[in-house]
């Protein structure tokens, strides 16, 4: 009988590069930037790392295939380096590999590294790429905003929320995240915006305007994980441990069957249920203290509030407008600025979310620090598109509290 991951693995150190249009920097250097911070935080040498997982999605336009680029850039000790890719949930997938390796006893210390260098394409937005020889002959060659914008039409239709009301609610999602990003020196976009600017911005994919879309940027983030016992042995007093780690992948039910209504993420709901069960959470709205969710687009964040069972179905947009998820609200969401302000270097984002939760749990989040240290902090990392995707939920918390 599986016993779950709760409290079996501790975070020994984390690092996060400054995200942005890093014209001067390649993917390897971004990894080094995050890695140096994590090593110093963990207070170990790189030779202590016994296995590594590298998450990168668009490898062909940056560091290339395999685990070798990470091994070389970080001068790892000829340890196994496994490259993983799972759409935009790639960063969480890398963490999952490292955490399970430690939990299994296969190694004492493992590294999860996520990196993406997107700004070597010459144009804005995510790079265009093949999805395979058959899919290219059939699939819509839409943009990422186009794929997620469809949530809005379906959500409006299902819940009777007018287009105008919904536009304002998702607008507030972005206003809130921009306000948070101002306080984060590692964020890409550090400028507050007002609601009217957001609502009247140029249309990208109806109804998503420019400010409803997260940026595209370069970045890297990493975690070094070990067992709580080893962490204590290395002199760590306050420990952050993994409380839950779940991943749900679409099997065609949404996209091929006739039951899904297009207004929510089936996989996020499954991953959330599994994660809450693993962590022992039964009232997420009350028990969670912080959330970092996959706000690739404002509408994604809004429906995710319902999919994580934090807001009632059909009521997420009201919670958003009520400020429930603002930095000073009851359950802050994207207190670091989110994908909205960090941009979305695919492989790095899942780990960047955990990084913020880790800092907040240790009281190290500087100007952004939440006054009350939460018991649980959740990160939600989503890859693919609403009808077919990969949803990851990671819950971290203080060890022994």
């Amino acid at each position: 009988m599986a016993t779950g991951i709760k409290d079996k693995v501790a975070i020994l150190g984390m690092g996060c590069a400054r995200f942005g249009e890093r014209w001067d920097t390649d993917g390897e250097s971004l990894m080094v930037e995050a890695f140096r911070e994590a090593l110093a935080d963990a207070n170990i040498e790189s030779s202590a790392i016994q296995a590594a997982w590298l998450g990168v999605s668009y490898d062909s336009i940056s560091i290339g295939p395999s685990g070798v680029p990470a091994s070389v850039a970080l001068r790892l000790d000829n340890v196994p380096v496994t490259k993983v890719e799972n759409y935009c949930a790639t960063g969480s997938e890398a963490l999952r590999g490292a955490v399970y390796a430690v939990a299994s006893g296969a190694c004492d210390v493992a590294l999860a590294m996520g990196v993406e260098k997107l700004k070597d394409t010459g144009y804005g937005g995510l790079p265009v790429r093949s999805r395979g020889t058959r899919a290219d002959l059939m699939n819509v060659l839409g943009s990422a905003p186009g794929a997620f914008a469809q949530l809005a039409a379906a959500y409006s239709g299902k819940h009777g929320v007018s287009g105008v009301e919904l536009k304002r609610a998702i607008g507030h999602v972005s206003v809130k995240s921009h306000a948070n990003g101002v306080k984060n020196p590692k964020a890409h976009l550090r400028k507050a915006v007002d609601i009217e600017t957001v609502i009247h911005a140029p249309m990208i994919a109806e109804p998503l305007g420019l400010f409803d879309c997260c940026g595209v940027s370069d970045g890297a983030a990493c975690a070094i994980v070990t067992t709580p016992e080893i962490a204590r042995g290395l002199g760590k007093r306050d420990l952050v441990t993994i409380k839950a780690l779940s991943l749900a992948v679409s099997n065609g039910w949404e996209g091929q069957g006739s039951q899904w209504d297009g207004s929510y993420f089936h996989t996020t709901r499954i991953a959330a249920r599994r994660a809450y069960h693993e962590a022992g959470i039964d009232k997420p709205r009350n028990q969670l203290g912080l959330m970092e969710v996959h706000d690739c687009f404002s509408i994604t964040e809004l429906v995710t509030m319902e999919d994580l069972f934090v807001s009632d179905e059909g009521a997420g947009w009201r919670d958003v407008l009520d400020g429930f998820f603002d930095a000073d609200g009851e359950l802050p969401c994207q207190i670091d600025g989110g994908l909205k302000c960090f941009g979305h270097p695919i492989g790095a984002s899942g780990l960047r979310m955990v990084y913020e939760n880790y800092l907040q749990l240790l009281g190290r989040a500087g100007e952004r620090q939440r006054k009350t240290i939460p018991q649980y902090a959740l990160s939600h990392n989503l890859g693919g598109f609403p009808s077919q995707n990969v949803a990851a939920v990671v819950i971290v918390g203080r060890y022994g509290k």
Partner: protein
């Protein structure tokens, strides 16, 4: 052999978009003010994702292909503007219509007479062996800006199912002449036609060659010119049909004016389009004379049967013609038809290379929009996939082919995407839920902004998915079009 042969069913298609000829004229008036005189009426223009094959498929479906697909033993496609010089175009239409692999298919081209010659060949072949044949004419003429043809041409297609029983119109007989009268030509690898003076074409061509052929056909079939009820001689110039009819002794009331005013002259497909148009309005026991002109002349004579009314298509050509969406944006016309190179941005640089192995393996899935249905559960799914939707046993189940192309579908979600590359932005697409079950996320086309609503009913349309300009390959797939 003297078995009766004729037309069992008929259907036509004209693209949804229309261009005001006044917009063409105004755009060119700075160069030649006299073109303002040509700025009357409209011409049918293909959407960017339409070509002769997509229009051929639409015409065949309007002809009732879904109902008779199993009986078709021969498919002939006539066009002087097919997308492929060497890859059988009729074969692509056959895949899209989901016809049997065991049929004869043939492309006919090379002249504006191709449409009527193909129909004549189909009739003669069916008379010989009794096998039902589908004859389709489709054209998307490329016309040089400011040329006469830019004003007169139009895009469209027509399909006729030829057989020996349940006839809508019986084939009475024909006469053909083959004369190298070069009114216009297009050399190999040339984009545009080169045309001689229209006065000469009218007098020496239509006025003599066509008239002589009509007279010969009437004489050969023993039909009295006065009994002709429908005289069908479309031409890219006004007045020729009336003049030819008069010379041949056919009553002026029988002369159908061409569809030039609202559609334009669709080259070799024009006579077939006109025939479909006439049959849609014809009563029983009426004689129709069809003229196809081009380096000689085909004259085919038909007589409608008492069951003509029952054989009219449910999706009529007339509805197609009247249901168009008019634009006066000449620049848009130039851009979407690739007359005008514009900056497309880096997103348009994606390599559209088609894996021919994949296309062959999945040709029913891609070109025929055939999915699968689990006989045990009744669940339909697309694409077919190895294990049925919802199965946990790992078995491949008992799956049967399940075509989606003729099923209606409801919009579940959609967007209008302005970021992804489209030559005619925004790109509309979304998820569709099919009547009878099954779902797809598909591109939408021929969209009005008002059509973009959850719950809108759509029909499927065979369209160009992408063009691989680097290799000269066109890739086809199905898209959602609002039911109108």
């Amino acid at each position: 052999m003297n078995r009766p042969v004729g037309i069992k069913s008929f259907g036509g298609y004209v693209p949804w978009l229309r261009l005001e000829r006044s917009a063409i004229a105004e755009s060119h008036a700075w160069f030649d003010a006299s073109v303002r005189g040509k700025g009357k009426g409209q011409r049918a223009i293909s959407n960017w994702d339409e070509d002769t094959l997509t229009m051929a498929v639409e015409a065949a479906r309007n002809c009732g292909a879904a109902g008779f697909a199993g009986r078709i033993g021969r498919l002939i496609l006539a066009s002087t503007t097919p997308p492929f010089v060497d890859r059988q175009n009729a074969g692509i239409v056959k895949e899209a219509l989901n016809l049997s692999d065991s049929i004869e298919t043939m492309d006919v081209s090379g002249s504006r007479r191709a449409g009527t010659s193909a129909l004549l060949a189909a009739l003669n072949a069916t008379r010989g062996d009794g096998v039902d044949a589908l004859c389709i004419g489709a054209e998307k003429p490329r016309t040089q800006p400011l040329s006469e043809a830019e004003f007169t041409a139009g895009d469209g297609a027509a399909a006729l199912c030829v057989g020996t029983e349940s006839l809508a119109a019986e084939f009475v007989g024909s006469h053909t002449t083959s004369i190298d009268f070069v009114d216009q030509f297009r050399g190999a690898n040339r984009e545009f036609d080169y045309a001689w003076e229209s006065r000469w074409v009218r007098e020496e061509g239509y006025g003599k060659i066509a008239v002589a052929a009509v007279r010969a056909a009437l004489e050969r079939t023993g039909i009295d010119a006065k009994d002709v009820k429908h005289f069908l001689m479309d031409a890219p110039m006004a007045g020729v049909a009336a003049r030819a009819a008069k010379l041949a002794g056919v009553a002026d009331a029988a002369v159908h004016r061409g569809l030039g005013g609202e559609v334009g002259f669709a080259a070799s497909a024009a006579p077939l389009i006109q025939l479909v148009h006439a049959l849609e309005g014809a009563g029983p026991n009426e004689v129709a004379v069809l003229v196809g002109f081009g380096q000689g002349c085909d004259v085919l004579i038909f007589k409608t049967t008492p069951s003509i009314a029952a054989r009219r298509p449910t999706q009529s050509l007339r509805a197609c013609i009247h249901g168009g969406k008019t634009t006066s944006n000449y620049m848009r016309y130039l851009v979407i038809n690739d007359y005008m190179p514009i900056e497309r941005g880096m997103r348009a640089e994606m390599d559209m290379k088609t894996a021919l192995t994949t296309l062959y393996r999945d040709r029913k899935t891609i070109l025929g929009l055939v999915g699968a249905r689990d006989r045990a559960t009744g669940l339909a799914q697309y694409p077919r996939g190895g294990i049925p939707l919802g199965s946990t046993t790992g078995g491949v189940g008992d799956m049967e082919d399940y075509p989606f192309a003729d099923r209606g579908a409801k919009v579940i979600s959609f967007t209008a995407d302005r970021l992804t590359f489209s030559i005619d932005p925004p790109a509309y697409y979304g998820m569709l839920d099919f009547e009878g079950g099954g779902r797809m996320t598909l591109d939408f086309t021929d969209m009005d902004p008002a059509d973009a609503i959850v719950g809108r009913m759509m029909r499927m349309s065979f369209r160009v998915k992408s063009r691989d300009a680097a290799r000269g390959f066109t890739n086809y797939f199905w898209k959602g079009v609002p039911q109108r």
